[in-house]
Assembly symmetry: D2
């Protein structure tokens, strides 16, 4: 898989009164980066045609430095197959040209159908990111 | 209808880097107050059993003063029937004991079924707030 | 001023359990579009060097149709000087190639300094959008 | 420390189009519960008078079951002193009377001053929660 970068612009909405990005918002950035990595069109088709959606079952982040209003962040996700049912994403947040990630995230996902029953990770998704 | 007040505590999550509550968050406060005014249990039953949900079709707010971290705000909603299909809520935001509303909101709602077709406002809702 | 378009991708985070974008999120989209129209770098410089920020004092939206997960929306802002202290933005939300705006927004802004005192709209901003 | 429970009502704003609470929102619930555990008034005074704020430097959650619109959740935080500079919160999410936590969270916090320099955890905070 070639390196993938998703850019996030930090707006007023992202920050809190302490002056930096509110901690839980990085999990939104991670989701955006994952969706672009997997392919938004693919995810939409899976959802509409097969009723398959993604569920986060574990999420963690380590925060080293706060991003601020006006930052243009790079979210760099990688993905590995943890099992036939689970995918593990590593998703770090960088300032362009920075020496160190501002935030390091790990997200574990599974897929569910319309009845919220666990299903195998769709081949379509894996084909794209693992080849 | 007797006066109704819904209390909202302002947390880190509500503020932005300018030091006050981010403007769009008041629309969330308005929704919370509306739901408690109408009765959360009633709304949940309508949604689960009849597939009826609420849709905002017009929303406006006038901002006079910014609320800050630690404020404990009073959201004071009133509601009027605009037609068989539309309800009009006035929802103002006060500091306890304040002389003037910090924010003044107006929200117009309608109801839709599972296919997002317009339906009449459910009697259950009106009985509660207009009697 | 030449027409300006800001693209917003709709993610899981933007939607609610009724299946469409949660109504207050459009106000976030409007802010993003405004910031890009005015120039993020300019706004950051104003904030850091002069302590000047933007405050919304009136916001309204009319909702015609709900956007859904996977939509790639066009936010089309225009701006007019309402006075030396106020700017009025019209910000509509379109699906590419659509016949009608999904949402129509109007936002009135003013500028404040670090003490939250009203100041004139900075020339820098006007030069960019009105020339 | 006596057991502490903070109640969170799940509104439209909290859910996403898959029908359950969006995963990052639990981190907001955790923050709210922490603030009430520590005392909102105390935190406000620390912030305004001494410029001391809280910074999350590690956050994780394990999701077992999704909460839905209308749920009234119990957030049950406990706190331990990890060092003079760090506090460790365990924060689980329950349905009232449930057999198992829906979500289990762990948050590590430190305190910073106005210059975002690390400072010792304020005694005021510890006195309240550890006695």
């Amino acid at each position: 898989m070639k390196p993938f970068v998703h850019i996030v612009q930090v707006y007023y909405e992202d920050t809190d009164h302490s002056g930096v990005v509110y901690h839980s918002n990085y999990f939104k950035y991670f989701e955006r980066a994952r969706e672009h990595l997997l392919g938004v069109d693919t995810l939409v088709r899976l959802w509409r045609e097969e009723g398959i959606g993604f569920v986060v079952y574990r999420a963690s982040a380590k925060y080293r430095e706060g991003a601020v209003f006006g930052d243009r962040l790079e979210i760099r996700p990688t993905v590995a197959r943890a099992s036939d049912y689970r995918a593990l994403f590593t998703q770090d947040v960088w300032r362009p040209g920075g020496q160190k990630a501002l935030v390091e995230g790990q997200i574990e996902l599974c897929c569910v159908n319309r009845d919220r029953q666990l299903v195998r990770l769709p081949k379509l998704v894996w084909a794209r990111v693992l080849d």
